[in-house]
């Protein structure tokens, strides 16, 4: 179960707070996956108590201030959401799945979520196996709203290192064609990192979505085979 609360001493009107939290959740807590299961109790609450004195409360009408606070709340919520993924039961890796250049946001999110929830992708990540075929497979069965979002000949998939080492990006699929010169040694180096990125460029539009997931380990089974008892 995911539970959380965000508290602030800024004064924000109820309607602005509702919009802010909803927007932040869409880009943070609703973009994480440990095991693909949804709880009956998931709740994120936010309270703004106005203890910091301001001339007037933050409201939707004052777009400049509203947008600034909304941006801060969203990046803050992302930090909190990412900690949940880092604690993913039995996990050893934190993985960012980035889908770029999608025809629409919903399909970018669907693809990112499908990759993030694939048990076979997640076990490959745990085993540090550069099994890009499983990523492709997950993209292919994603339940897209618009089939035009995915054109195989425009699809690029890469692993990206996050530790500053070079080459940062290792291309696995280039314009729909597998990279036959794949540097397996470099692939192993990237997959050995505790933090890494899977980059999917759909090349069909300009929308993007990020999801955060983790690997799936033996430990996950151990923890969850004995919870209620």
């Amino acid at each position: 179960t995911l539970l959380g609360f965000i508290l602030t001493d800024l004064q924000i009107t109820p309607r602005a707070l509702k919009k802010m939290l909803s927007n932040a959740t869409m880009r943070s807590f609703n973009c994480i996956s440990v095991d693909g299961d949804m709880s009956t109790n998931d709740t994120i609450t936010m309270i703004a108590n106005g203890a910091v004195e301001t001339n007037k409360p933050v409201d939707i009408e004052n777009a400049q201030v509203f947008n600034e606070v909304q941006e801060n709340v969203t990046s803050f919520a992302q930090q909190l959401a990412q900690l949940v993924v880092r604690d993913g039961e039995g996990s050893t890796k934190f993985v960012t799945v980035k889908v770029l250049n999608s025809l629409n946001f919903n399909d970018a999110k669907t693809i990112a979520e499908t990759i993030s929830n694939s048990n076979l992708v997640k076990t490959a990540l745990y085993g540090e196996d550069a099994n890009w075929g499983r990523i492709l497979c997950a993209i292919g069965y994603s339940k897209l709203n618009d089939i035009k979002s995915l054109k195989p000949e425009k699809l690029n998939v890469s692993f990206v290192a996050t530790d500053g080492s070079e080459p940062k990006e290792l291309k696995l699929l280039i314009n729909g064609v597998p990279n036959l010169d794949l540097d397996e040694k470099r692939a192993s180096q990237i997959l050995a990192l505790p933090d890494l990125e899977i980059l999917v460029d759909l090349g069909t539009g300009s929308e993007k979505c990020q999801f955060w997931t983790c690997d799936l380990s033996h430990e996950y089974v151990t923890i969850n085979g004995d919870y209620r008892s």
Binding site: T1, L2, L3, G4, F5, I6, L7, T8, D9, L10, Q11, P14, R15, L17, K18, L21, S22, F29, N30, I32, S33, V34, D35, D37, M38, S39, T40, N41, D42, T43, I44, T45, M46, I47, A48, N49, G50, A51, V52, P57, Q64, V65, E68, V69, N72, V73, F76, A77, Q79, L80, L83, V84, R86, D87, G88, E89, T92, E128, P194, I223
Partner: protein, 208 residues
């Protein structure tokens, strides 16, 4: 392949923090968790100069737990105004517990409202833990009263905040606490955000 275990607690748990003005928090081991760990937490808004605003997003699972339904009801009734506390328990999710569960979730709010001398609904409730078990309300009630009566339990320093983060954990290997100060570029006003979360498994939320 053999993997070296990661000490996530030392990597991700802060040792200090900045916290928003006008909040007090407290936690206690009520006995709901069998291992005697902290399992009941509360957040109280102590600022009375301005009315508070609250909002929440909830699971879209068709089987919503009793505390989800209770908090939704409170937010609808109050339209997000004057919500001054959040009460959370871990160890029992109070989910799939029918009418009794709904009554217990409301009781948790009522106990806190009474302690805060509020005659209007002003408390939200959350629960996490095992599904399909009744809350041990005798332990919860005793714990809540003790939080308010023992002045050392309710406070606003780092340890109080960290303990609340611990009190909502279940299989988590570390409490999740994030704090940060921000400054509005237009007015220069400084404000603080503090966030606490829990979760390690059964995680793929789609809240609305």
């Amino acid at each position: 392949k053999e993997k070296i275990p990661i000490n996530k607690y030392s990597l991700y748990v802060p040792k200090c923090g900045v916290f928003p003005k006008g909040f007090k928090v407290g936690s206690i081991a009520s006995g709901v968790k069998k291992n005697g760990n902290l399992d009941l937490g509360i957040i109280v808004n102590t600022n009375t100069k301005t009315p508070s605003s609250a909002s929440a997003v909830f699971t879209t699972n068709r089987f919503k737990a009793a505390p989800v339904l209770q908090s939704q009801r409170v937010l609808q009734e109050t339209k997000g105004s004057n919500i001054n506390s959040i009460v959370v328990n871990s160890g029992c999710a109070n989910s799939i517990t029918g009418e009794i569960g709904l009554k217990d979730a409301k009781s948790m709010c009522d106990i806190v409202n009474k302690q805060l001398k509020s005659d209007k609904p002003s408390t939200l409730v959350m629960s996490t833990g095992v599904i399909g078990q009744k809350l041990q309300m005798d332990k919860i009630e005793k714990g809540l009263v003790e939080i308010f009566e023992n002045k050392k339990i309710l406070g606003d320093d780092f340890e109080h905040w960290l303990n609340v983060a611990k009190s909502i954990c279940t299989t988590d290997t570390f409490p999740k606490l994030v704090t940060n100060k921000f400054r509005l570029s237009s007015t220069g006003q400084e404000y603080t955000l503090t966030g606490i979360a829990k979760g390690a498994g059964m995680i793929c939320p789609n809240m609305a």
